[in-house]
């Protein structure tokens, strides 16, 4: 995580930001095959911008998934729907 920022072997400039960031987004969104994950650790270990981008994008997805407020479904909604269905049958 962020504690491991900037180890000496990481490049400070990414050679192809567009290609790398798009790949990282696809991996985080579950769109890439599992073999992409094999190269992921290597990529993140070598490139500081990719490492930071990946961690931030991952954190944003995580908080959206776990912290967004959910609305309780009104208790009468399901029965209202069933009633309307009976009327059109």
């Amino acid at each position: 995580m962020e504690k491991d920022l900037n180890p000496p072997e990481r490049k400070l400039k990414c050679d192809d930001v567009s290609k790398c960031f798009q790949l990282l987004e696809s991996i985080l969104d579950g769109q890439e095959q599992s073999d992409s994950n094999g190269t992921l650790d290597h990529k993140l270990a070598k490139c500081q911008p990719c490492f930071e981008y990946y961690n931030l994008e991952q954190a944003i997805r995580e908080v959206l998934k776990t912290k967004c407020t959910k609305q309780p479904v009104p208790s009468e909604l399901a029965s209202n729907i069933r009633q309307k269905i009976e009327e059109i049958k």
């Binding site: 962020e2 567009s18 798009q22 931030l56 959206l64 609305q71 909604l77």
Partner: protein, 216 residues
């Protein structure tokens, strides 16, 4: 209604009519219809209601949208193949109902947003830049209300892709079908949506006195 809004509205009407007039592949018995409805459609009512609420920000409108969606789903149940992706099918109907009926009823003047125009007319070219100075720990420290408010403040097209991908877990392919847009547009719209979300989160962080790299 502006010219662009009219085009967009008419296109979505056509898409909706096409969806609803798809060749009926099945001829289900009443028992089958009830089974599909109870076991494949109704389990998604929670996600459907939350999607409706996040589109409209109104409990009654969300209820109407969901009810309308389920009635259409029942009416056109023969277009649904049992055992396929019911959630995506229902979301597509709800999204079309929202565009065709809720937006039409809305008294708010139609406005053309630059980002929205860019999304439609420059849809697949995305500039991947290192622009965010938002910290990972800052994001993780935010409470649910701050995250929800940031999401809710996005324009509806951007909000929608984040809801579908991050909250509901749809794949790019499923999102492309739900939204009737190419996969490349799904990808670019998601990227823009998340960048806009980061801007909102960064501004919340600064207002709330969280640590950001920008404060130095």
């Amino acid at each position: 209604m502006t010219f662009l809004s009219k085009i967009s509205y008419n296109l979505s009407q056509l898409v909706f009519l096409k969806l609803m007039s798809e060749v009926q592949r099945k001829k289900y018995s009443d028992k089958d219809k009830n089974d599909i409805f109870d076991n494949e459609f109704m389990p998604h009512i929670d996600s459907m209601y939350n999607f409706g609420y996040r589109l409209t920000f109104d409990e009654d409108d969300a209820k109407d949208l969901v009810q309308d969606t389920y009635l259409k789903a029942y009416r056109f149940i023969n277009s649904f193949e049992k055992g396929t992706n019911a959630k995506a099918w229902l979301f597509r109907i709800l999204k079309n109902s929202f565009i065709n009926e809720y937006r039409k009823k809305s008294k708010q003047p139609a406005k053309v947003d630059y980002q929205e125009v860019e999304t439609y007319y420059n849809s697949d070219s995305v500039d991947y830049n290192i622009t965010s100075d938002l910290r990972v720990d800052t994001v993780k420290d935010m409470i649910g209300d701050e995250i929800s408010n940031a999401l809710n403040s996005l324009a509806v097209d951007f909000r929608t892709v984040i809801i579908l991908c991050d909250l509901e877990g749809f794949t790019y392919e499923e999102m492309a079908k739900i939204l009737d847009i190419p996969i490349g547009t799904v990808r670019s719209r998601l990227h823009r949506a998340r960048n806009l979300l980061k801007d909102k989160l960064r501004s919340y962080a600064q207002d709330m006195g969280y640590d950001t790299d920008n404060e130095d």
